[in-house]
C-alpha cells in the first residue's frame, strides 16, 4: 500500500492514528557510518525524513589553517575513507593549481591508474553494502573479496590499506615497486567474471528489482538543484562527468584516454548490449539506475586502468618530485573539483604567501547527495528508507569532515 504521490487525493480522515517518531539512530546497521535519520511515519508510510549529521565532525578545515599542505594530506584520507586515493588526488591537484605546477608524463598516468583502482574499490563497497541493506549477504562477501585484492595492491604501493597519503603535491611519494604492474594486470584479468556474478546476483534479481525500481525517484532538475553529483546525478540521466567536462588542469590528466560517461541518454546506456537490460519497472532516476550506473562505471574504470598501465610503461622514468614540506605558497586562492567515486569532491586553498595556507576548504559530494533524501523518501515505506540511503552511497567521514 505504498502511497503513490500522483494527484492530491483528498480522503477524509476519521481514524486518528498518531504519527510515530522513529529514529534510525547513529548506531544503526544500515546507515553508512554515524548518521541519525529521524523518520516521522504513520504506521509503515513515511511522511517526513530528516537526517541529523555532525557525529563525526573533526573540523579538518581548522587544522588545515595550522599545517602546511603536504601535512594536510593524511586529513584528506580520512574524509572519504573508502576512496582515500581520490581525496589525496583532489587536494594535490588543487595546491598544484595554486602553484601553477606541471607534472611529468609518468606521474600523470600513475595518478590515473591509482585513482581508477580507488574508484573500483569504492564502487565495490557501494554495491556490497547495498546488497546488505536489502538483506542479501552474499554479494557483500564477493565484493569485499575483490576489494581485498585491490587493497593488497595498494599495500604494495604505499604500505597502507585504507589511509594511504600516497599521492602528494608534486607527484607521488614513491614510484611503483617492480613487478607491481603484472600483479595489477593479473587482478584485472580475473575481475570481469566477478562483475557478471554481481549482475546475476543483484542487478537482474527479481526481488532486488522490486525493492529498488521506482523507489526514491530523483528528477534531473531536482538533482541539479540539490547539488547532487556523481553516480546520483548520472543516475537521473544527466550526462556530466568531471573527467570529461571538468576544469582543464583536471581533464588534462585524462587526455587521450578512451572512456564513456555512464548515463542513460535518450533511453540508452553506452555499450549496454553487454549488460543486463534495464527492467521495465525501473524509472530513470530511481535507486536501481543509481546502482546500475555504478556497476557500469566499474567496467569503464577497468578499461582506464589497462590504458594507464600501457601508457605508464611507455612514459619516461621520471615520476615527479614532491615539494618540500615547508615550501612557501604564492599569494592567491584556487578551487578545484575532481570526480571522486561518490561525486564531485571540491578543495579550495587560500594562501597569503606563508607556507601554511590561510584557509583550506573541502566541499563534500555526499553532503549534497544526502540533503536530497528528505525529498526522495516522502511517502515511501519504512523499509524503503535504507534502500534509498544505500543507493545514494554516502560516507559520513566526508559529510562531517
Amino acid at each position: 500500500m505504498a502511497l503513490q504521490r500522483s494527484g492530491p487525493e483528498t480522503v477524509e480522515f476519521d481514524v486518528h492514528t498518531d504519527e510515530l517518531l522513529v529514529n534510525m539512530g547513529p548506531q544503526h546497521p544500515s546507515t553508512h557510518g554515524v548518521l541519525r535519520v529521524v523518520v516521522r511515519a504513520d504506521g509503515e508510510v513515511v511522511s517526513e525524513v530528516t537526517p541529523q549529521i555532525g557525529y563525526l565532525h573533526r573540523c579538518a578545515e581548522k587544522i588545515g589553517e595550522n599545517v602546511t599542505p603536504r601535512q594536510w594530506i593524511p586529513y584528506t584520507d580520512r574524509m572519504d575513507y573508502l576512496a582515500g586515493m581520490n581525496m589525496n588526488l583532489g587536494w594535490a591537484l588543487t595546491v598544484e593549481k595554486l602553484l601553477r605546477m606541471e607534472l611529468p608524463e609518468r606521474a600523470r598516468h600513475l595518478r590515473v591508474l591509482i585513482a581508477e583502482l580507488g574508484r573500483i574499490a569504492s564502487h565495490l563497497v557501494a554495491a556490497g553494502t547495498y546488497g546488505l541493506d536489502l538483506g542479501s549477504f552474499t554479494p557483500f562477501m564477493y565484493c569485499f573479496r575483490e576489494r581485498e585484492r585491490i587493497l593488497d595492491l595498494f599495500e604494495l604501493v604505499c604500505g597502507a590499506r585504507l589511509t594511504y597519503s600516497y599521492i602528494t603535491i608534486g607527484g607521488v611519494t614513491a614510484d611503483l615497486p617492480p613487478g607491481w604492474l603484472e600483479e595489477c594486470e593479473a587482478f584485472l584479468d580475473q575481475f570481469n567474471p566477478v562483475i557478471d556474478e554481481l549482475h546475476a546476483m543483484l542487478t537482474s534479481n527479481a526481488i532486488f528489482i522490486r525493492r529498488t525500481a521506482k523507489i526514491g525517484v530523483l528528477a534531473p532538475e531536482v538533482a541539479i538543484d540539490y547539488g547532487c553529483t556523481g553516480p546520483v546525478l548520472r543516475g537521473s540521466g544527466v550526462s556530466w562527468d568531471l573527467r570529461r567536462d571538468g576544469e582543464p588542469c583536471y581533464t588534462k590528466m585524462y587526455e587521450g584516454y578512451r572512456f564513456e560517461v555512464i548515463a542513460q541518454v535518450d533511453g540508452r546506456y553506452p555499450q549496454d548490449q553487454k549488460y543486463p537490460p534495464v527492467p521495465a519497472a525501473a524509472v530513470l532516476g530511481d535507486s536501481w539506475h543509481r546502482f546500475y550506473v555504478r556497476m557500469l562505471e566499474v567496467v569503464q574504470s577497468v578499461g582506464l586502468v589497462r590504458q594507464a598501465i600501457e601508457r605508464y610503461r611507455r612514459s619516461p622514468p621520471d615520476c615527479g618530485e614532491p615539494i618540500r614540506i615547508t615550501q612557501k605558497l604564492p599569494k592567491g586562492e584556487a578551487y578545484l573539483e575532481t570526480e571522486a567515486p561518490k561525486g564531485q569532491m571540491g578543495f579550495m586553498v587560500i594562501s597569503d604567501g606563508a607556507a601554511i595556507p590561510w584557509r583550506a576548504r573541502a566541499r563534500s559530494s555526499s553532503f549534497c547527495n544526502l540533503s536530497v533524501i528528505s525529498e526522495l523518501c516522502r511517502g515511501c515505506l519504512i523499509a524503503d528508507v535504507p534502500s534509498v540511503l544505500g543507493s545514494l552511497d554516502i560516507v559520513l567521514g566526508e559529510i562531517d569532515r
Binding site: L3, R5, P8, E9, T10, V11, E12, F13, D14, V15, T17, D42, G43, E221, V222, D225, Y226, E375, R378, G379
Partner: protein, 211 residues
C-alpha cells in the same frame, strides 16, 4: 494405591484454566490480561485433548488461541499507549464484580451437582436416561456427544468396527461451533471495514519552493 491418571491430569488442567481465567480478571495490565487469556484458552484446548477429541482441541487452538487472540493481542498492542496500559478498577467495582461472579458460580455449581452421574469421581461421563428435561443434553450435544443415539451406545452387541466408527463420529453436533466461527468472521470483517484507514493526503510538494 493406583491413581487414575486421566482424571488427575484432567482436574489439574481444569484448575489451571480456572486460575488463569481468574488472573485475567484480577490483573490490571491489559497486555498481561491478553497473555493470561491465551493460557486459559490453551487450557481449554488441553481439556479437549484429554477428553480424546483432538480434532476439537486443534480447532480450539487454531481458531481461538491462534486466530482471535492474535487479533486481540494486535489490538491491545496498538492501543496500549501509556494511559491505557494499566486500568485500575475502583474498589466499589470489585465488590459488585465479586457478588455477580459469586452468584453465577453458585448457579453453575448447583447445576453441575444436580446431575447425578457427574457427582461420583472415577466414572467417565456415560449417561443414563434422564427423567426430567434439563439443558445438559443441549450442552453435551454442543461438545459433540451424539445425544440422540444414547441408547445405541449401550447395546452390547456392537461390533468392534462399529464401535470404532461411532468413536470417530464423536463430534457430531459441530454445527453450533461452526455457527460461532462464521459469526466471528463476520464480526471481524465488519470491524476491519469500519476501521479502514481513511487519511487525508495533502497535495505533494511538487518542486522545491520557486520563490
Amino acid at each position: 494405591m493406583d491413581i487414575n491418571w486421566h482424571s488427575f491430569f484432567f482436574l489439574l488442567v481444569a484448575l489451571l484454566t480456572c486460575a488463569f481465567a481468574l488472573a485475567v480478571v484480577i490483573s490490571s495490565n491489559i497486555v498481561r490480561m491478553a497473555f493470561y487469556l491465551v493460557l486459559s484458552l490453551g487450557g481449554v484446548a488441553g481439556l479437549f485433548f484429554l477428553a480424546g477429541a483432538d480434532f476439537l482441541g486443534g480447532l480450539q487452538l487454531l481458531v481461538y488461541v491462534g486466530g482471535t487472540l492474535v487479533l486481540l493481542a494486535f489490538g491491545v498492542m496498538l492501543t496500549a499507549r501509556a494511559p491505557l496500559v494499566s486500568m485500575k478498577t475502583a474498589p466499589g467495582q470489585w465488590v459488585l464484580a465479586a457478588v455477580v461472579g459469586g452468584c453465577l458460580l453458585a448457579v453453575l455449581l448447583q447445576v453441575a451437582w444436580s446431575v447425578g452421574q457427574w457427582a461420583g469421581p472415577g466414572r467417565p461421563g456415560v449417561l443414563e436416561e434422564e427423567a426430567k428435561p434439563t439443558a445438559a443434553p443441549l450442552g453435551l450435544g454442543l461438545v459433540g456427544v451424539r445425544v440422540d443415539q444414547l441408547d445405541v451406545d449401550r447395546r452390547a452387541d456392537l461390533t468392534e468396527k462399529e464401535k470404532k466408527a461411532r468413536e470417530a463420529g464423536m463430534s457430531g453436533y459441530l454445527v453450533a461451533f461452526e455457527v460461532i466461527s462464521v459469526h466471528l468472521v463476520v464480526v471481524l470483517i465488519g470491524a476491519a471495514y469500519l476501521a479502514r484507514a481513511k487519511r487525508r493526503v495533502d497535495a505533494p510538494l511538487a518542486r522545491p519552493p520557486q520563490t
